[in-house]
């Protein structure tokens, strides 16, 4: 199993109801599989998954990428700084 830390921001944080969560996931899960797992485990988050941006260890990540061991995963909507 792989122990990861999830960090939620903006609309995703509101829907998750928390800023961060520690999670154990199977080894070699892809980002897409992680999103699918979160959608089914936390139905409130399901509607966020289409437009969510994902990061692995503070770099943008994409659906086919494997979640590395002990990763810090960020989840948030398209950015709106400035």
């Amino acid at each position: 199993m792989n122990k990861i830390k999830l960090l939620f921001f903006a609309t995703i944080r509101d829907r998750a109801g928390t800023k961060q969560m520690d999670l154990e996931i199977p080894d070699n899960l892809t980002i897409q599989e992680l999103k699918d797992k979160l959608s089914s485990d936390y139905p409130k988050m399901a509607q966020s998954m289409k437009s969510v941006l994902m990061t692995i260890n503070r770099e943008y990540a994409f659906d086919e990428q494997i979640v590395p061991q002990n990763a810090e995963i960020g989840m948030f909507p398209p950015v709106s700084g400035g």
């Binding site: 943008y60 909507p77 950015v79 709106s80 700084g81 400035g82």
Partner: protein
């Protein structure tokens, strides 16, 4: 060679333009292009409305890393740039308050220094993980951008 000054930070404090400008000005600098954005209390364009305040949040360590990336990209595109400062203020910010500042210095004004600062703010709005919630007299709403980063960004 002394490294060129590059400042990037997320802060809850007031943005101090004079202090930043002093830090990015070399003896060879003769021009600075500065962009700053502030909270707009009354919006006339597109969807006219009023804003009571904006509440900013950031994924701070990633945001600062991406600001450094923006500065690196500026230097690759405009090798004449001397100093760069990129600062985003977060927290609850009211109309007329500066929220962001991008400043670039160069020897002369006709070196691309204006374009470099413009690139800096445009790029910040694409890849630096910061969000704002707008509070208006009628409710509140997260503002979402529309840029989807590509692999390698």
């Amino acid at each position: 060679m002394i490294p060129l000054p590059t400042i990037f930070s997320i802060t809850e404090d007031e943005i101090d333009l004079n202090d930043l400008l002093e830090k990015i000005t070399l003896t060879s600098s003769g021009a600075a292009a500065i962009f700053t954005g502030m909270v707009r209390g009354v919006t006339a364009r597109d969807n006219p409305h009023e804003t009571v305040y904006l509440e900013y949040e950031a994924y701070i360590p990633m945001a600062e890393a991406k600001m450094k990336q923006v500065a690196d990209e500026i230097r690759l595109k405009w090798d004449v740039i001397e100093g760069i400062a990129i600062v985003q203020r977060i927290g609850k910010l009211y109309p007329r308050t500066p929220t962001v500042l991008i400043a670039c210095t160069a020897a002369h004004r006709d070196t691309g220094v204006f374009d470099a600062a413009r690139y800096g703010i445009d790029r910040l709005k694409e890849i630096v993980p910061v969000w704002k919630k707008e509070v208006s007299p009628t409710g509140e709403e997260w503002i979402e951008g529309d840029y989807i980063p590509k692999p390698g960004e």
